[in-house]
């Protein structure tokens, strides 16, 4: 069985290599297509803010939020692709898309009931979702002129957030874990007015493309870093969600780092129509 599997893999590699050895002419061609993929997001913290301030009389020394890591914040993206190859290896492209970025964090509070006795523990999981339109401009360099061609790309994009929402889950144990199935949840509140609606991101990534005469497919991973902070500083405490009052929640100052994994299907058009 292992020998059959190994043989299949070797055959596949041989076929792919055989195909990739063929020269694929790309210069002066336009490519149009569609893309779909996954977005992983991580806030890069610049300054912490908290509505609740620790004092010497507090049970906790701080009320810092604990952010979840990049690969636990999964969103999606889908959109269009358009590119033009100046040379067989250099091309300029744009991939306007709708994308959803998610990020979440946890925090907790603890108070004592000195009249009835006992302790009050509250732990919260805050989940945010930002939907935006991304309009990037990228320069791509293909390492080969063959059908299978790895590439790197870099550029900038304009991100326009059009909707954001937020939901809070809570339980009564401080254990760094809130089970969304059993926790008490808030309603979903619109979070859009708290955002800087327009943002600029720098992009960089790599991928691999497969070119045929009548179509092309690529798989790319692109890191993007938003140059503007995501939260509007003048509206930080405005409490449009109602969650500052209810959950003592206020957003930190951060920039969003995202990793977009996109599959793109393209069709080529010759410059000379």
């Amino acid at each position: 069985m292992r020998i059959v599997l190994l043989g299949t893999i070797l055959l596949g590699i041989q076929l792919a290599y055989g195909q990739s050895n063929r020269h694929q002419y790309r210069k002066d061609r336009y490519f149009f297509g569609i893309n779909v993929g996954t977005t992983f997001t991580q806030p890069i913290l610049r300054e912490r803010f908290s509505l609740l301030q620790a004092t010497p009389q507090s049970a906790q020394k701080d009320f810092d939020k604990h952010y979840s890591h990049l690969f636990s914040n999964v969103g999606g993206a889908y959109g269009l692709h358009g590119s033009f190859a100046f040379t067989p290896q250099f091309s300029i492209l744009t991939q306007p898309c709708f994308q959803t970025q998610r990020y979440s964090y946890m925090n907790s509070y603890h108070w004592s009931d000195t009249i009835m006795g006992g302790e009050v523990y509250k732990e919260f999981l805050h989940r945010q979702k930002i939907s935006s339109i991304r309009i990037p401009i990228l320069l791509r360099f293909d390492f080969t002129r063959l059908r299978f061609s790895p590439f790197v790309q870099t550029g900038i994009s304009a991100d326009i957030a059009y909707f954001a929402s937020k939901q809070v889950f809570s339980d009564n144990y401080i254990d760094q874990k809130v089970d969304r199935k059993s926790a008490t949840s808030s309603s979903v509140a619109e979070f859009t007015p708290h955002l800087n609606r327009f943002n600029v991101a720098v992009l960089g990534g790599a991928g691999i493309a497969y070119y045929r005469e009548h179509f092309a497919v690529s798989l790319s991973g692109t890191l993007s870093y938003n140059l503007r902070t995501s939260i509007n500083e003048f509206n930080r405490y405005a409490d449009y969600t109602g969650m500052a009052t209810e959950y003592l929640d206020v957003q930190d100052k951060f920039n969003l780092l995202s990793l977009n994994i996109l599959v793109t299907v393209m069709v080529p058009l010759h410059k000379k129509w």
Binding site: L51, T55, V200, L227, Y237
Partner: protein, 335 residues
Amino acid sequence: MKRRNLLWVIGILVFFFSACEKKDKSSLPFVKIYDDQNGNRSFAPLSMCKATLDNGYFVLSAYDGWRIHLMKMDKDGDFEWNLELPEQYVNAVPSLVNIQQQLYLVCMDPIALNTRILRIDEANKSVTSISTLEEVSYPVHAYYNGSDLYLMSCPLSSQMTVIHKVSQALDTVVKIGALSISTNVDDLLLKHVMHTGKHYPFFIRSTPENNYFVINAFYNYSFSTVFFDSDLQFSGVYNGAAMDGGIASVFPLGANQFALARVSGENVFINPNANLNPTAIAMATSIEAQGDAELDHEKPVLIKQINISSKPYLCVVASGSLQLSKSNLEELVLQ
């Protein structure tokens, strides 16, 4: 052609990067809640003022009845330090006083029932008692008009409201003016100072011309707004409706014009430019004002002058009624 393309690219890049962060964020709005592990402790806010050594703020509040809590925070509202004053100091009046760039608070000795003036030492994060005024009992307000400190007191069982002018050294009373209440208000006064009942808007203000003092105090079976002349002699009064109505806040504008908020029944009425006669004897309800049924008549009303883009505005801050607006957000009315 290529140069034109290059200019386009540079133009697009300039547009993109001009949208990026600018660094001037010197005075951003904030909301802060200062935590205490004791979930049953409650604080009654009394006064807030700017610090003199930096751009921070001091907040004076009462806890456990009439115990005194003083807190310092920075310009962004972040906590710096706090003090729970010893039990020998209670009943802080709701006004932190800045006298020649030095902050003071006025409070009471719970045993001797006389008044203490404490100096706030911002550098050493402490308070020091600088004087005891034996003749001033149950202080309810302090006011510094730029040259002299005035205290209002309401001694138990005296049925009197007394205004005291304090010496420059802040250690003796140099002049007094008195009002007869003609009825016993001990119960109301004790609930006021212990924060267990109705909290009365006692205040002393002076007109810009310094020819009159406007005093909100118990007077003649009511809680009223009394005019004193500069020699602390009675001049006129706008009577409240017994102990439940009257003027809640006043901002003297000069030339007998006043911005004011008054309470009648369960409604708050506001007039940003009312003409009051300092020698009149009238009812506060006779002052024309616009009512706002959504404001909470039991909560304090503040009238402050603020500058927005170098233009002066009067700002009336009141609390929304919980029953009507389903929120307790403060309402801002700008003139």
